[in-house]
Symmetry: C2
Subunit: 257 residues, 2 copies
């Protein structure tokens, strides 16, 4: 996909390269039996369906088109590139993340509680759409919902006493928080997917990964790793995620005061 340079690079269209700046083509002027109504929303809907079922690898232009009962090239009227389709998919997930308006029955909360809420929403979205973290640190997310989520992060942090009105510090705190989310979720979900495919849930893992690790650890060159794997109680991924989150929150708090 990114292998070949996109049409956009070849012919210098005056502007409007970003999909967010390009209006959607009009609804079709209804030819005969209306070959099949189409829209960006329908396209990303089908793509989400495929991705949720088979992972990102299950999303191909041809397959999305097949779900919509449409010729593959039809999609290129709504999207310049498969990467743009992935951008749309990411933004659709961001739409699920934007926290409820801060004015509702949840009154404006403590900034730490606010960040915990955002982190929790993000993680739940990632669990619903396991492919989302794969996109998370990828090409910059500039879609409307991604920007809204970014604004929400900033807004929560802006309510911290030491950060209000200090844009540079605010930016740094938001970036660190987000970096943690990206890294933690990507790692957790990759692990989960590896567990599910590399071993049929357990069996092959016991047969391949586990003996290898045991052998490495018994060689004695990784004493701390052995201790951490062997002695420590194994927390659930959720607990681990929240523990790391507390570390980040504490770090921001230290910055604040």
């Amino acid at each position: 996909m990114t292998t070949r340079q996109s049409k956009a690079e070849a012919e210098a269209e005056p502007a409007a390269t970003l999909i967010w700046a390009r209006p959607e083509p009009p609804a079709r002027r209804a030819p005969q039996p209306q070959p099949q109504p189409l829209s960006r929303a329908l396209i990303v809907g089908a793509a989400l369906e495929l991705a949720d079922a088979d992972g990102l690898e299950g999303v191909s232009i041809r397959r999305v088109a097949a779900v919509l009962e449409v010729g593959p090239m039809r999609l290129y009227g709504y999207v310049d590139t498969k990467d743009e389709l992935l951008d749309l998919m990411a933004d659709a997930v961001y739409a699920e993340i934007t926290p409820p308006a801060p004015t509702a029955d949840h009154p404006t909360q403590d900034w730490q509680a606010g960040l915990r809420l955002i982190a929790g929403l993000t993680r739940r979205a990632a669990l619903r759409h396991e492919w989302f973290p794969e996109l998370l640190g990828g090409r910059p997310h500039l879609g409307p919902h991604a920007l809204a989520a970014l604004e929400a992060r900033l807004s929560v942090l802006n309510s911290a006493p030491g950060l209000a009105g200090r844009p540079a510090a605010l930016r740094r705190a938001a970036a660190a928080f987000h970096a943690y989310l990206v890294g933690a979720l990507r790692t957790e979900l990759a692990q989960r997917q590896a567990d599910r495919t590399e071993g049929r849930s357990e069996e092959q893992w016991r047969d391949a990964v586990s003996p290898y690790l045991r052998q490495v650890l018994e060689a004695g060159r990784h004493p701390l790793l052995a201790e951490v794997i062997g002695k420590a109680e194994h927390p659930t991924p959720g607990e681990e995620f929240e523990a790391g989150l507390e570390i980040v929150l504490n770090g921001i708090a230290a910055q604040v005061s």
Copy 2:
């Protein structure tokens, strides 16, 4: 690659599925003009070369084989799958990251200084191999150098007074630190790559991204984002990385005491 199920899944080889547990095939028993000597080291060397030049997308089995002047299928004697080749590449980068033995002229340092050193080494490696962060949060890294780097992280953290001998806390701190690295580097490098290709370094960015952002910001629905982008001084990526790192270090420190 992951699209098709690998041979490993089809026929249940007794064990040894992990590449780290499979010995390298012997050096070839020298036929005639030695068609071309080969080894995993040579293969990942060629792959690194391609990836450094053209990014991960530039690495294909056929191209690696071409660099080595060898038939493509030859590589499958050393590697079961392209994903395994990527695992080897990631481990090769980890080899550049493992910090110098803590006993040398650098005496055992403060744990914070130790983590800063590891973070700096990791970031420098990522700048040398811009594709590395793309692999960073991916499938679990179990190669020898990855494990050594993990042990090094644990070792540094183990020298923090509050963490020594508390495997669970140690594990959490190491995980949070690593999650930050993954997220921050992935985001930074993705941004950098987008800047370089989406606009020819500047031009198209001014023509496409910048006007779009300006328009969004002027709509007034993202006041804090506008403030952060507009008013804040723009730090270098390196400064931003280090600022976030300090936040994480402070958070760990708060956990420790």
